[in-house]
Symmetry: C2
Subunit: 332 residues, 2 copies
């Protein structure tokens, strides 16, 4: 019995469980030459998937209705007719939300559970860590002594960005949505300052207080009014790394806010949107750096592990109400 989860309906605003459908098939999967059979171990749920559930032009095509959703997956090779992979190997790749599936091996990377727990390859050593590293290094171009502000700072990407900032000698300020998260930023991830945007009335003033020398790099996961408040504090030649805009992904109308152009002109500032795959050529460097920092205990990470294939949609939905701390992963 193979279970899968398909997109039944494109979400309107916040995704709900009835946007998804569970299917079961009684299939005997036959391998052709070059193929391998995979059994899913861990499934990554990520905010960016919300974008692919809409029928809008984007950097990757939208998910098709009644077809399985795809995301980062760690799977075990349980049968192989492909010389590059053998039974018992673990791999990571963009795979279907299915309990078992056949692959031709394309795009799969072998992962080693001895270096780090398997789930880490969906997080700190996977898309999450790569997104943090590539966005911060390639667009943020951090220099020791500068000030870095991170929004969505207690999230999977944000917490890594802040830690890399500290490793590189920056002053790091995190913005998050609860006192508990703010406390975690400082105690666990070593941020210099944290701001709870839900209890702070004047965000621009709070950022100014936390960043008295102004903001050189802003790593933006949220968009919306928080990002507007940062604009008042940017320095000349500031770099605004636009990684995501989770605060507006579920908007059914186009979000509005402060016009950024006058701030960018005044400060010769840069805003750059990106997706991690733009920087594929530096992934080896990134994984090597991240692994080194992990081993040296300079880098730590949180993950929220939900158990059970059937809980994938719930785990995904929970991302948008901030129920996760760090990377949200479903263990099958």
């Amino acid at each position: 019995m193979i279970k899968s989860i398909v997109l039944k309906k494109r979400p309107e605003g916040q995704p709900i469980v009835s946007d998804f459908e569970f299917k079961s098939e009684d299939l005997e999967l036959e391998l052709k030459e070059g193929e391998l059979l995979l059994e899913t171990s861990y499934v990554s749920v990520d905010p960016y998937l919300r974008g692919r559930m809409s029928d809008a032009k984007s950097y990757i095509p939208p998910f098709e209705l009644n077809q399985p959703i795809q995301s980062g997956v760690i799977a075990k090779v349980i049968d192989s007719k492909n010389d590059d992979f053998k039974e018992g190997d673990y791999v990571s790749g963009m795979l279907d939300w299915k309990t078992k599936q056949v692959s031709n091996g394309e795009g799969l990377l072998k992962v080693d559970g001895n270096i780090a727990p398997l789930s880490a390859y969906l997080g700190i050593l996977g898309m999450t860590g790569l997104t943090a590293y590539c966005g911060l290094m390639q667009i943020g171009k951090p220099k020791s002594g500068e000030t870095l502000v991170v929004s969505g700072a207690a999230g999977a990407v944000g917490s890594v960005v802040g830690q890399i900032g500290k490793i590189l000698g920056l002053r790091v300020i995190g913005i998050a949505g609860s006192d508990e998260k703010v406390e975690l930023l400082k105690s666990k991830f070593g941020f210099d300052e944290g701001i709870n945007y839900k209890t702070t009335k004047n965000m621009a003033a709070a950022i100014k207080e936390a960043a008295p020398k102004g903001v050189d790099i802003y790593f933006d996961n949220v968009g919306g009014p928080i990002s507007d408040a940062v604009l008042f504090n940017i320095n000349r030649f500031a770099r605004l790394v636009i990684c995501g805009a989770i605060s507006v992904y579920n908007n059914t109308e186009l979000p509005t806010g402060l016009s950024v152009q006058p701030f960018l002109v005044k400060n010769s500032a840069l805003m750059q949107g990106f997706i991690v795959s733009n920087y594929a050529e530096i992934f080896p460097e990134a994984i090597s750096e991240l692994s080194k920092w992990l081993k040296e205990d300079k880098l730590t990470y949180s993950e929220t592990i939900v158990e059970g294939f059937d809980n994938i949609p719930y785990a995904f939905i929970d991302l948008f109400v901030g129920k996760n701390k760090g990377k949200m992963v479903v263990k099958i």
Copy 2:
């Protein structure tokens, strides 16, 4: 008798003539060793000066009240105790709005009226041409076959940007505020298409029609709703060159509009604000290229020349109601 114009009052919204004050002094100017006496020939009036008239943090300090305003000026050397300049030379530099003034020569460049008319050194071979060239080349990074949209296209900078785009083999679409200007874009400056934003109801659709392959580079002089409309049409890896935001400079409240972040993330797009002095190291290359294109008749320019020192404030104010075609210059 030396006349000067000082900033009497910081403008609120649209500048008005009573924000300025005319002064006359009966002074005998004495030169010290290394100094030269300059008689003003042409004065440049530019939208960015509005920013310096406000008391806000910016890339250059605000003008001081009761002190002469400064802008780009072409002046004749009428006496010199500086070995680098002799009587009869013409120079360009950032100088006071005064009929005569003393300089130590710092920041002055000699200009040659035989290569181009003197006023051109305030325009196509001065700040205007350099702004167009540096912004387009350094941020826009144009590649033949791409599509370039220019707002404020009939303005001093915009008309040069579009022409450089055509020289480099791009499809060029200009946005301007009258049918006459749109006609000029096509007939005089060689743009492929022009859009009159004042008579176009759905700007996003009009841009889409003019740029069927999407927008790779947007050279933005205006900000506001025109720039919002461009966002719907940007391609992956688009570069948005933020040169100015004249549509909002006179706003007394902070302008708002579409949130750009989701568009930037979706398209891995870049927005970069700049001022021309960031690129001083490529000015020699830029002036050499621009002069070459001028000589080859590949580049043409418009200027609106207003006569008389006393008309400087009026010429400046007229910029904000679009009375100029191309570079606005005051001849003394």
